[in-house]
Symmetry: C2
Subunit: 198 residues, 2 copies
DNA sequence: GTCTATAGCGGGATAGAC
DNA sequence: GTCTATCCCGCTATAGAC
C-alpha cells in the first residue's frame, strides 16, 4: 500500500480476525448463549455496533467459527494423504486426529458443545461435514475387517466409540500437563490398536 | 389425608417434580443459558413467579439437577457392589455404566454440557463427585496391572479414555435405533476388554 | 401455592454522524 | 469502519393480592 493513512478508527484488517478469535475464546469458555455481542466488542476494543461490519448477526458468527473449523479439519485430513494397509491407515488417522485437535481445544469445544445453538440449516451443514469425517474412519475399519487384521463386532459402533475416545482427549488434555503430545499419541495409538485388532 | 379439599391452584406435590422434569428436558435440548424461567413455567403450566416456590433461583435449579444425577450415579455404583478379580470388575463396571447412563440421556447431557454454567462452588461440588466415579474405574485398572491381566501404558490416561468412550455412547445412542442395549453392552465390553487386556 | 404486575437490567440489532 | 444513541424486547426476581 502506497498510502498508509486511514480514517480514524478504521482497522478492518486487524478487527476482523480479532472478532473471530475473541468470539471463539469467549464462547468456548462461557457458551454461545451466555456471551453477548457487547462482551465480544468490549474484548475486541470496539463498540457493539461495529461488530456488524464483520458478521450479519450472532448466529452467523457461531456458524462461521464452526464451519471454518470443520473445513480446516477436512482439508487437513485430505492433505495428510492417508494410505497403505488398514493398520497403517488407522495409525495415521489416530495420530492425525490427535495432532490436529490437541492444539485447537477452543475450536473442538465449540464445535462439539454448540451444535444445538445452530439454526436447523446451519446444523445440517456442520453435521454433514462431521459425518464425512466419521465416514473416513469407518472406511478404514471396514477395510481392516476385509483384510482380516481388525475384528470389531460392529463397524459403525466401533467408529463412534473411537471418535468419542479420541475427541474426549481434547476435553481433558492440558498443554502444561504431565504428558507431552508425543507420549499421549503413543498411549492412544496403543489403546486404539488393541481395541480393534484381531 | 382426610380432607382432600385444597385452595384453588395449590399443587405442590405435582408441580415440584414437574418443574424438575421440565427444566431437565428443556435444558438438555436448548442449554441452560438459552432456557428462560418463563419457558419452564409455561411448559409446567404455571406463571414464572410460581417457580420460585421450588427453587431459590435459576442457578440452584441447574445445580440440583446435576447433583441429583451424580448422587444417583454414585449410590447406584455403590449398590452394584462390584467385586472379584480385576477383569470381572472391569466388565461389571462397563456394564453398570452403560445400563445406568443409557436410559438417562437428558441427565447425562446436562451434567456434561452445563458444567461451565455452574457457579464456582457448585462446580467444585459436582467435579468432586465426578472425580470419585473416575477414581473407581482407575482403581480397577490399577489392580489389573498388579494382577498382570491388564497392560495399559498409563493408568490415568486409560481411565480418561475409557470414560470418554463410554460416555460418548450416551451422546449418539437412540433407544429406537438399530441396536438394543444388550447388544451395545456386548460390543462395548468387547472393545474395552481388548483395549486394556495384556 | 399461584396469580398479576412490575422493577431493574441487559440483550440483539439498527440509524445516522463523523 | 467506528462511534453514539436508541428501539424494542425478554430476562430474573420480587411484591402483594387471593
Amino acid at each position: 500500500m502506497v498510502n498508509m493513512a486511514r480514517k480514524q478508527g478504521s482497522h478492518s484488517d486487524i478487527t476482523g480476525p480479532r472478532v473471530q478469535d475473541t468470539a471463539l475464546r469467549l464462547i468456548a469458555r462461557h457458551g454461545y448463549a451466555a456471551v453477548s455481542m457487547r462482551q465480544i466488542a468490549a474484548e475486541v476494543g470496539v463498540q457493539a455496533g461495529a461488530l456488524y461490519n464483520y458478521t450479519s448477526d450472532k448466529q452467523s458468527l457461531l456458524f462461521d467459527l464452526m464451519q471454518a473449523h470443520m473445513a480446516d479439519l477436512l482439508a487437513a485430513l485430505d492433505a495428510a494423504d492417508i494410505q497403505g494397509d488398514a493398520m497403517a491407515r488407522l495409525e495415521a488417522f489416530t495420530r492425525f486426529h490427535i495432532r490436529f485437535h490437541l492444539p485447537r481445544s477452543d475450536q473442538v469445544f465449540v464445535s462439539y458443545m454448540e451444535l444445538r445453538n445452530l439454526s436447523p440449516q446451519n446444523f445440517a451443514a456442520i453435521e454433514a461435514m462431521r459425518r464425512s469425517y466419521e465416514d473416513a474412519l469407518e472406511a478404514i475399519l471396514h477395510d481392516g475387517e476385509v483384510e482380516g487384521v481388525f475384528a470389531v463386532p460392529d463397524t459403525r459402533v466401533a467408529t463412534m466409540a473411537l471418535i468419542a475416545t479420541l475427541t474426549g482427549l481434547s476435553h481433558w488434555y492440558r498443554e502444561d500437563g504431565r504428558l507431552a503430545m508425543d507420549r499421549i499419541e503413543a498411549i492412544y495409538w496403543d489403546l486404539v490398536r488393541k481395541a480393534v485388532a484381531v
